[in-house]
Symmetry: C2
Amino acid sequence: MPTDSGAKRPAALLSVADATTAILAMLPRTATVEMPLADCLGLRLAEDLTAVLTLPPQSVSAMDGYAVRQDDVATLPAKLRRIAESAAGHPWQGRIGSGEAVRVFTGAAIPEGADTIVIQEDVDAVAEENGAVITVRDAEVAGRYIRPAGLDISAGEIILSAGTLMSARSIALAIASGLTHATVHQRPRIGILSTGDELVLPGQNPGNGQIISSNAAFLSAFVQTVGAVAVDLGIARDRPGAMLRAVRAVPNLDLVVTTGGASVGNHDHIVGDLNQGAKGQAGGLNFWKIAMRPGKPLISGRVDDIPLIGLPGNPVSTAVCALIFLGPAIARLCNGVAEQPQFLVRLAADLAENDQRQDYIRATLSGVGADQLVTPATRQDSSMMAVLAKANALIVRPPFDPVKKAGDLVSVLPIPPLF
Amino acid sequence: MPTDSGAKRPAALLSVADATTAILAMLPRTATVEMPLADCLGLRLAEDLTAVLTLPPQSVSAMDGYAVRQDDVATLPAKLRRIAESAAGHPWQGRIGSGEAVRVFTGAAIPEGADTIVIQEDVDAVAEENGAVITVRDAEVAGRYIRPAGLDISAGEIILSAGTLMSARSIALAIASGLTHATVHQRPRIGILSTGDELVLPGQNPGNGQIISSNAAFLSAFVQTVGAVAVDLGIARDRPGAMLRAVRAVPNLDLVVTTGGASVGNHDHIVGDLNQGAKGQAGGLNFWKIAMRPGKPLISGRVDDIPLIGLPGNPVSTAVCALIFLGPAIARLCNGVAEQPQFLVRLAADLAENDQRQDYIRATLSGVGADQLVTPATRQDSSMMAVLAKANALIVRPPFDPVKKAGDLVSVLPIPPLF
């Protein structure tokens, strides 16, 4: 399945984990800003969030029924007198006494003195007038269907910690707890630069030997899905200094990502430019061969004080390296960690022994439960964008993974729908 | 673990699958519009996309090295004369003859007559002047490291089908294939209405028996993450007609989602309003008890000609029902299908036998590979937003699922990071 196996060239390769560590180590954090919670979707908290309110603020019913005293329903059936009603937003302020029942609805405050819920299905002849007598056929144990004050949140408690990605559910939690704003890291501004004499811009007609630049469009969309702002730096031609000029033309970048020009080919100038651009910041430049497929050459460095990640130029390599390195990098710029859980799934086809590179095999998931299978695409060339677009999973094979047979379990990274 | 088991009330419950089918069946499709591809992220194609270009446009090298004729490297080592160079964007137009080699770089056009790549590591003394003689120590089989014309895309081929969610990688594919625009379904406008006398708006100070409305904030963020536009309809109080007035106050809604007011409690008026609001469109109103937990009451209906889904009001029920029903509904409004793959993961703790409701248990994933575990949260009450915010997975248990022990496999739905 490998189409450009590195097996013949046993040069020292850096592991994906070590490359990730090195990239993350060079990144600063973006500035922080206070924002209305509704605008925080996809941003990461710069500080812990502390609840202002207790939720529920008092004991409330989880069901429609009656609030009663356990003593009064120890013997069933029991006849009780309906004395009041407590509804969500309309609490009854009194105290329940012996032989009394208070009609309650979901979310309603439990009156003082009551410790037991009778659900309405367990009462004969639901009478809705105060003073009416109800017959209780069955009752819950004390406390059941009662949500005690503070079950969800207690005032003063840390509800979300710094670095948390603000999701729909965490925004809702923060709002429910009495907050209106949060201090978050600003969306990183990611400069995106394509390189190569063969590239023309989308909308242009490619001439002989030319292709349309698409990596920038991929990266622009991708960084948006992980909470960053894409800044288009255009195309740098294969000439010394072109990359430096493009990066320096745009202010306030938090990170630059380049694609292509990262090999040792005579037409690749990113490394040379970075040697020029480091301005004495020695050690900023790394030119790596990563033990991964697709993707092998990877560059990190700085232009002046802006960190730069150089991705390989084949579209599938660009995309997979973005998922594996750039996603975590953008999370780190916001002081967070990107979650990318993998799962074990049964193979639908055999896979040959893997070489020294960690393999990210484009694949499709099908079936459910015990019938779930993952089917590797038959061709894995790193230029094949159509295969990547149809895939919904990557099979992740560690270096030197032995032969796998159909039916064996392999690690699968589900592809995020917007990736 | 269930806190509000319906086991005592064996009323006919509708399965999650049947409820989903019924909801999807009532939905129209949004209008279509032509958009620049870069603006299509998260939208769904209204028409198939057909490639304008072939990719690669001609055979290209996948490696840095030399293009040669297989006949010339049948006996090794072989001496060949470097006659030209072909680089990405700078194709050489000639034809290679016997005893000749053309220097090639990744992405460069393969000259006519060449069928074999010699990678540069297999050549002694890489000479970069034309006329220089190179010594080839090893060569690939014919065709290896050569990407034939059309390997990725052929002009005229359907590359993405109607209904496809436009992701970063599908946008890149469409651009690479020569397209600049796509016809997509407009983002659905989702009206979001909270109901309940107990609710105050975010930023207000809740009085006795009141809580801050947070479901609308959740739903607003959630629908954005699945490609829709949130339209805030505010809070409807527990009075007949309040829902109808709120919905009719805003034009051009594709779907209305309400939370709360969906029980048969005396203070719940959504069902009554829908009976008023259907305007003779009989059959539009369904009041369901769904065999799921959290969430049981679910409403579908219409206000005039606008479809409406009524979700339960407990925040976790709202959220889980949004994931299970609203996400697929928004995909359907755009003629697509929401992908929500589940995976089998080992349990970290025992689970009691399940009752007749499909259970969505808030849980956390930990560990990798064979050590991966899913740990159910100890409390599953549908009011507990903090538990949901910390969870990164839902264990999905079918109705009547037998006892599960720690170490058993269960189905897990990973929670999308922005959910």
